[in-house]
Amino acid sequence: MAAIAEGLRRVLELDRELWHIVALSLEVSLSAVLIATALGLPLGALLAVKRFPGRRTLIVLLNALMGLPPVVVGLLIYLLLSRAGPLGPLGLLFTPGAMIIAQSVLVLPIIAALSRQALEDAWREYEEQLRSLGARELAAGLTLLWDARFSLVTAVLAGLGRAAAEVGAVMIVGGNIDGVTRVMTTAIALETSKGDLPLALGLGFVLIALVLAFNAAAQLVKETAERRFG
């Protein structure tokens, strides 16, 4: 208990430096989730509604990619962005931009695979009715995305959880540079290795509190909306 209290006190002492780390964490993870959602939801809808050769293989692949190790993603993005790599000229390595790219890659399969499952369940219920009304695939996909919006919140939250919690990818492509690319998870790893366990613990609590707050808010919105719309 004493360690926890000490940790929280140390975190509060950090103030400006701490809030910079928290803000960067949120900026990176939320941007990554936004990008992954914009790509992942349409991909999930496509896989749920359209039947095409290779669809099942793609679903298996996507499900497997949910378990992609962050360090491996970090390494691959590192190779792409490093000065000798194909995207080297962009000069993104060790910037927040690189961290956003890495986390987007990490989160995309989660959002696509989970939304595919939710949308396919909805499609089973809606298919005959929508086809009877003359909805083509594109219209049906958009209808599903809108009608299953409450279930999709869970898919997006799972993605956000993954992004906020991972350390391997942002560490490799960001480099944990103080004031530039240091986020909560890399700061925790650093403080732990330096032996400053109370500070690491305090940062950990702030991270958990943030994730909890996001999930609680989303759940609240979801439940209110579900009561309202059935």
Partner: protein
């Protein structure tokens, strides 16, 4: 308006997914006019037959032919109401507007047409209620309004009252009869003999995926031509 999409002709239609025969060599012609009841026990193939007619399923053998070659036009001029209505997560009114939008009705006309359809089924006062919180009977009436808004020439109904209490079922029947009176061809599957009598003009009796008998309501109930139909009318289960 162009010529009617009717008659609908089924030519030796069979449906056998994964080798299991559900519909077996059905030949039928369904014309405008009398309300047609597809009667049969559970598992007789009523729902499958309706889906083949409506185009939701493709026959394994044989052909389903309408008097209209254009698929999009055909789709717009027929509608189906299912046993369990599927309502979108939006208001009752928006559910009807959705169907009108898919049918390419100009945006400016959708709302007034949708409200008129809700009026027709007595749901106008619930227009802005979320569709999914309506009662089962109200949802089914909303499904009827959604189908009716497009003024289909043919309306398929697959056991529309199977999940409803008798009072709600009667309300649905009243709406169906009003559509019939307005000139829409009714094709309804049911296993409810009383409902068949109240709503139908003619009966197609189905058993094990085959048409056993087709007759007017009066003669079907008074003098069933086959032993199977006679047993069904008497309320006996054919396999007992």
């Amino acid at each position: 308006m162009a010529a009617s999409i009717l008659p609908l002709a089924l030519e030796e239609v069979g449906y056998a997914p994964r080798g299991q025969t559900l519909i077996d060599g059905v030949s039928l012609e369904i014309g405008a006019g009398p309300s047609t009841i597809i009667l049969g026990a559970n598992g007789a193939g009523k729902s499958v037959l309706m889906r083949l007619m409506h185009g939701l399923l493709a026959p394994s053998t044989g052909r389903v032919r309408w008097n209209e070659p254009d698929a999009a036009s055909l789709r717009r001029r027929q509608a189906m109401v299912f046993q369990r209505p599927v309502m979108l997560r939006r208001s009752a009114l928006a559910n009807v507007i959705y169907a009108l939008k898919l049918a390419n009705i100009p945006a400016g006309e959708r709302e007034s047409q949708a409200l008129a359809a809700l009026d027709e089924v007595g749901l106008r006062h619930l227009a802005h209620r979320p569709a999914r919180v309506l009662s089962g009977g109200e949802q089914q009436r909303l499904a009827l309004a959604r189908a009716w808004a497009l003024h289909p020439e043919v309306l398929f109904l697959d056991e529309p009252t199977a999940n409803l209490d008798p009072a709600a079922a009667r309300e649905i029947e009243t709406v169906i009869k009003a559509f019939d009176a307005a000139g829409t061809k009714i094709v309804m599957a049911t296993h409810n003999l009383g409902q068949a009598r109240r709503v139908g003009d003619e009966v197609i009796y189905l058993q094990a995926g085959r048409v056993m008998e087709r007759a007017t309501i009066e003669s079907f109930f008074a003098r069933p031509a086959t032993a199977e139909a006679a047993a069904f009318v008497k309320g006996e289960l054919p396999w007992v």
